[in-house]
């Protein structure tokens, strides 16, 4: 039985890369990709732990997360495209409508 | 019961709401007006069935409906009326057609939503008076704010937004406290049913705090001095029909709440805090009257007179005896009729002259004698002239208070002098003296038409009926009030269970089997 530690470490690294990307990048599309990375790192953790404990709950969660991620991307991209058509930009510094 | 109509109270309560929907659906304005008037009149006639089916001498709830709502939390859709609420329901159903008819005659701006809001308001008002479940009561109580907010904020005068927001926030802040009180009581007893709660004894600590929560919330609604400042603003800014309903019915929700909850649920706390509330009531009587005396806007004069009149009602309630409470219940109806009629008269005047400043009038008795004749009768009713309705209520209240605490009667009776002073001052400035402004000449100022007389006349007839035959009303009020005072007296002498756990939600005692 192999150790799951390397997988957890890898997932932590991917998560941090994703988080750093979300916080620092300005292009909304890249931010989306970074969010996907964070989600997938969590998926990796779940699969690894599921393997370690020998039950399938983790796998089920992974499918759940993938479904949510897909839905989120669909909605998010739709908003993004609408915004891009409106302002001709994908720079999130231009978006501060959340204030209102 | 000699005959019964199933779900009579539900019909009375929700028919106006259906009417509101119908008003929105009907296409043209004329149709909307007729629909609204028809629905409110129909509701009034249906509500008269309450009198037909009434069991005389019965103290408890009648026409009871009880359907589980959220049984897990002990909540029921429970309706019923007793002698205390009966006349308030009828007052509401009577004033509404008058208010709507007035609006039909004089409001031309987006009449559809206006009438729909009025009808929705009626549902919430009747609901407050017939709800037997505390949470249901609270629901109706709060819901009444919404239509009123829009009526003031959309159709009001110059400063309407300020008034509407002030009205809403003032009342809402109080209500938040009441919700806490309601939850505490439900937590302690496990039931929200008012009838069941009548027999429950609450611990002294819970009584104190819950009473204060209720008292403050209701005090804003009544309003008791010094929480009254929303009232003049709301009244001055509200459209006439809104003022009629606001003074006529909405304020009664507060006083009704005291009789329905504060006294039976927390009798010891009520006895303890009664004198303080009575002091505030007396201050309200004198203060309201004096401030009314120097108002220049006749509507704000009437608004401050409401503060004084409601002071009388509070004085009666906290006399904590039969004369006081029965008088207070009757006085609620009296105030609804008199002040409603006063606002109606002021509204009729405003629609003619588009001003409410006392100094703009004078000598109207010459140009519009019918108007002034009615105005005099209404003012006298409000001033408590014996033979008219106001006196019967005021006198029984003062009588009741004299037994409890004579000094409050003496001070309250001073308010009778002041009431005559400000009302006669208004009458003097409007109706008497010479005509100084050409706009007040008979040629420029039409007297009341038949339609307008038709609105005022029912109220004036009721002034006389209540003034001369108040027993028609007391016969139905007395048994319920008698039961209330008997129960309070019994409770004061009984051992109060010292249950500290009550505050933490322990159910204290089985409801007594007497219901």
């Amino acid at each position: 039985m192999t150790s799951v530690n390397p997988y957890l470490a890898l997932s932590a690294i991917i998560f941090l890369i994703g988080a750093a990307g979300v916080l620092t990048r300005r292009n909304a599309l890249i931010i989306f990709m970074c969010v996907e990375m964070m989600l997938n790192s969590v998926n990796l953790t779940l699969v690894a732990l599921s393997y370690q404990w020998g039950n399938l709950n983790g796998h089920i969660f992974v499918f759940m997360i993938m479904a949510v991620a897909a839905a989120e991307v669909a909605v998010g991209l739709a908003i993004l495209i609408a915004h891009q058509r409106h302002t001709n930009s994908t720079n999130i510094d231009d978006i501060n409508l959340l204030k209102w | 019961m000699s005959f019964s109509i199933p779900y009579l109270l539900s019909v009375i309560t929700f028919l106006p709401l259906l009417g509101a929907v119908a008003v929105l659906l009907v296409p043209n304005d004329a149709g909307k007006r007729w629909t609204a008037l028809g629905v409110s009149l129909l509701t009034f006639f249906i509500s008269l069935l309450l009198l037909v089916g009434w069991q005389d001498g019965e103290a408890g709830m009648q026409f009871v409906e009880n359907v589980p709502w959220l049984p897990a939390y002990g909540l029921h859709y429970a309706l019923g009326v007793d002698g205390i609420s009966l006349w308030l329901v009828l007052l509401t159903t009577l004033l509404m057609p008058i208010a709507i008819y007035f609006s039909n005659l004089f409001v031309h701006d987006e009449i559809g939503p206006y009438l729909a809001l009025m009808l929705a308001l009626q549902t919430s008002m009747v609901g407050v008076f017939v709800a037997l479940d505390m949470v249901l009561f609270f629901l109706f109580f709060e819901f009444s704010l919404i239509p009123m907010y829009f009526l003031i904020g959309r159709w009001g005068g110059q400063n309407r937004l300020y008034a509407a927001v002030k009205f809403f926030l003032y009342t809402f802040t109080g209500s938040a406290l009441m919700l806490v009180g309601i939850l505490a009581v439900i937590g302690a007893t496990g039931t929200a049913n008012i009838a069941e709660l009548q027999g429950v004894q609450l611990g002294p600590n819970l009584q104190t705090w819950a009473f204060l929560a209720f008292a403050i919330a209701l005090a804003v609604k009544v309003p008791i001095f010094p929480l009254h400042t929303w009232l003049p603003d709301a009244h001055v800014q509200a459209p006439t029909a809104g003022s009629i309903i606001l003074a006529g019915v909405l304020l009664k929700m507060g006083t009704y709440g005291y009789v329905r909850f504060a006294l039976p649920l927390f009798p010891d706390a009520a006895a303890r805090f009664g004198p303080y509330i009575a002091i505030l009531a007396v201050i309200g009587i004198l203060y309201g009257a004096l401030v009314a005396l120097v108002q220049k806007d006749v509507k704000s004069l009437v608004a401050y007179s409401s503060v004084a009149h409601l002071g009388f009602v509070m004085l009666g309630i906290f006399a904590l005896n039969e004369q006081g409470i029965s008088g207070a219940v009757l006085q609620m109806v009296n105030h609804g009729l008199s002040t409603g009629a006063l606002f109606l008269m002021v509204g009729l005047l405003y629609e003619r002259r588009h001003t409410r400043m006392l100094d703009d009038f004078g000598g109207l008795w010459k140009s519009v004698p019918i108007f002034c004749g009615f105005f005099l009768v209404v003012a006298m009713s409000s001033a408590g002239l014996p033979g008219l309705n106001g006196f019967v209520g005021e006198f029984t209240i003062l009588l009741g208070m004299f037994e409890t605490q004579p000094i409050f009667t003496v001070l309250g009776a001073l308010g009778v002098i002041l009431a005559a002073w400000y009302l006669l001052t208004a009458f003097r400035k409007i109706a008497q003296g010479p005509i100084t402004n050409p706009a007040n000449e008979a040629a420029n100022l039409p007297d009341l038409s038949f339609k307008e007389i038709a609105m005022v006349l029912p109220l004036v007839i009721l002034f006389f009926i209540i003034g001369l035959f108040p027993n028609l009303f007391f016969d139905k009020i007395n048994p319920s009030v008698e039961a209330l005072t008997a129960q309070m007296a019994q409770r004061e002498s009984a051992v109060v269970y010292q249950l500290d756990a009550a505050e933490m939600g322990a159910y204290t005692q089985e409801p007594e089997a007497q219901h």
């Binding site: - | 010094p226 006198f395 002098i417 008497q432």
Partner: protein
């Protein structure tokens, strides 16, 4: 027969309704006729009831007619019931009798007024309310009439609500003042009623009198109750300190002054005290207070009347003064005498007012006696009847005023000699000003030639009531002649008996009254007819008082300055400062503090996504650190 007693006050009410709803389409004469007939029929019924009562044995002369239960709340119960006894029926006869005459007189007097219809509606309404007042068998029912007549008085004083002159200011204000001052008295009544019910559990007159008789009140309580009732009486009957409304009430039409402000309404306070005599028997202190107030009012009001120059004002102060006598009478316990004086006063004072009205009718409103004079030649009826009234007022034998006033003074002499002396002094002044009025107005030479030339005697509709009242003013004294027709004896079932003073005392009082009355008349004659200056010399020491008298001791100014204006100022302060600045300032303050707080926290929300993401991230890290290292 007694069951029909409700017709007494229903008839005027029907008159009100007919004239109110149908009056628009009727001739003036018909309106006046309907109103007069309504009251006249009441009078006829009153007479029938009176006769019926006389057929009953003396101790059964108290009949209660229950109409309906008025207010019932718990143990408090009060009925709409009538009490028919000698006292109430005497009052009914006075009210409807004098009332009918004044209604008839008014038809001619008000002939040219544009609001003729309204006038008769008010007048009938007044009779209606006044009858309720005197017929009710309990305090609360009486109070209905009590305030009802107040309303009628308000409406009739301010009848010409769009007029103003130098003497009264706006007439409407005079009406308002009357109602408000009366309300102060009503305050006393309300508290007294509450106290009576709380103590003895009934508001029924007979019950309360019995309870007082059986000592159910403590001495202190009964005195407090009576002082509160006295406050009510001083309001309605225009006594110190609340008399100030009556002089202004003369702004109303003169027949109104005759009916309401001389003959009937103002006597309600006296009636009420007589009605509740059971309480007053027990309340020695309150009775003495009432007697003192009565005597002082009689004295001061008479002194003011000495120097007034307006005929109606003189009569107004004279009314206040005469009411003072009545209060003195009830105060010293001679209730029968007080009611007797009430009756005779109703006749001769109504007569004087109506005669003054007749003068006014001829002069088109001028009543300043300095402009009148010599009217005897042109208005013989008015002059003669006025003379009879003045003689009765002055207390000249054998006119009615002599007997009734003497009966009161006799009671005072037996009980409180000091008050008797004050009363006697007032009687001197009364005699003087009565004949001053007569001599200056009707005798001598005309002072205003143009006015004089237009004078004419009034029409028969006015002079016939004058003659009837004059006849009554002469003979009414007979109804209380000892051993002949004793009114006091007749009233005993309602008022209780009291010991008659000794015959010597009676003779002494009689003689003194006569001398004083005659001396007053001689003084007036010397001063105003023969212009002898001994009267002026005698009055010289009192000369500095004259401005005080002319301005009625500045009482009105005092009230304005120390009560009304401070109250108004306080009210203004409350409305403009306390309400708007302090309470509302607090409310709006809470609002703006909340808004400021919101504005400050809002600046944290800059709307940039990375900021939100960063704060989210920091938050997560903080939670994680908490759980790993601390939690």
């Amino acid at each position: 027969m007694f069951d029909l007693a409700w017709l007494l006050f229903i008839l005027p009410a029907v008159g009100v309704l007919i004239n109110l709803f149908l009056g628009d389409r009727m001739e003036k004469l018909l309106i006046g006729l309907i109103a007069s007939v309504a009251v006249g029929m009441s009078f006829v019924i009153g007479v029938m009831l009176f006769v019926n009562l006389l057929t009953l044995p003396v101790d059964a002369r108290s009949v209660t007619v229950h109409l309906w239960d008025w207010i019932t709340v718990g143990t408090f119960s009060v009925g709409a019931s009538l009490l028919l006894d000698p006292l109430s029926l005497t009052m009914v006869l006075v009210v409807t009798g004098v009332g009918t005459l004044i209604h008839i007189y008014s038809i001619a007097y008000m002939e040219d007024d544009e609001r003729f219809q309204r006038y008769f509606i008010y007048l009938n309404f007044f009779i209606f309310a006044m009858l309720i007042l005197v017929l009710s068998d309990n305090f609360l029912g009486m109070f209905v009439g009590w305030e009802g007549v107040g309303l009628a008085s308000f409406l009739l004083i301010g009848f010409w609500f769009d007029r103003k002159d130098d003497m009264y200011g706006w007439y409407a204000d005079a009406g308002k003042k009357a109602f408000l001052v009366n309300r102060i008295g009503d305050f006393g009544m309300i508290v007294a009623m509450a106290m009576i019910w709380t103590t003895v559990g009934t508001l029924n007159f007979i019950g309360v009198n019995d309870a007082a008789h059986h000592q159910e009140f403590t001495t202190a309580a009964v005195n407090v109750v009576c002082l509160l009732l006295l406050l009510g009486a001083t309001g309605k009957s225009a006594q110190i300190p609340l008399y100030v409304w009556l002089p202004d009430a003369m702004a109303g039409p003169t027949p109104v002054s005759a009916l309401i402000h001389a003959a009937t309404m103002v006597t309600a306070g006296i009636y009420m005290i007589a009605r509740t005599h059971g309480l007053w028997y027990e309340a020695a202190f309150a009775s003495m207070t009432a007697a003192t107030i009565g005597a002082l009012t009689a004295f001061f009001a008479a002194s003011i009347a000495l120097v007034q120059t307006d005929l109606k004002k003189i009569l107004a102060y004279s009314t206040i003064s005469q009411l003072g006598y009545m209060l003195l009478g009830v105060g010293v316990g001679v209730y029968g005498a007080a009611i007797f004086h009430l009756t005779t006063h109703a006749f001769f004072k109504a007569l004087l007012f109506l005669a003054a009205g007749s003068v006014m009718h001829a002069t088109h409103g001028v009543l300043d006696i300095r402009r009148l004079g010599g009217m005897r030649d042109k208005m013989p009826t008015t002059s003669w009847t006025f003379l009879i009234g003045a003689a009765a007022l002055a207390g000249l034998i054998p006119f009615s005023g002599f007997f009734s006033k003497d009966a009161i003074l006799l009671g005072a002499l037996a009980k409180a000699p000091l008050l008797y002396i004050i009363g006697l002094a007032a009687a001197l002044m009364t005699a003087f000003y009565s004949f001053r009025m007569f001599f200056v107005t009707f005798m001598g030479k005309p002072r205003d030639r143009e006015l004089y030339d237009h004078l004419h005697e009034s029409p028969p509709l006015m002079t016939v009531p004058l003659w009837i009242l004059a006849g009554l003013a002469i003979i009414a004294g007979v109804i209380n002649l000892p051993f002949v027709l004793s009114m006091e004896k007749f009233l005993e079932p309602a008022l209780g008996a009291h010991d008659a003073p000794s015959l010597t005392l009676e003779m002494l009082a009689l003689l003194l009254s006569l001398v004083v009355g005659l001396f007053g008349i001689v003084m007036a004659y010397s001063r105003y007819r023969t212009q002898e200056n001994w009267v002026t010399r005698m009055a010289a020491p009192f000369k500095p008082l004259e401005p005080w008298l002319q301005n009625a001791y500045y009482v009105d100014e005092f009230y304005m300055r120390f009560i009304v204006n401070p109250l108004r100022r306080a009210a203004t302060w409350m409305a403009d400062v306390f309400d708007k600045k302090i309470i509302d300032g607090l409310v709006n303050g809470i609002g703006s503090v909340t808004m400021d707080l919101g504005g400050w926290t809002r600046s944290l929300q800059n709307g940039r996504i990375p900021t939100y993401a960063l704060s989210l991230f920091i938050g997560v890290v903080a939670v994680v650190i908490y759980f790993i290292f601390i939690g």
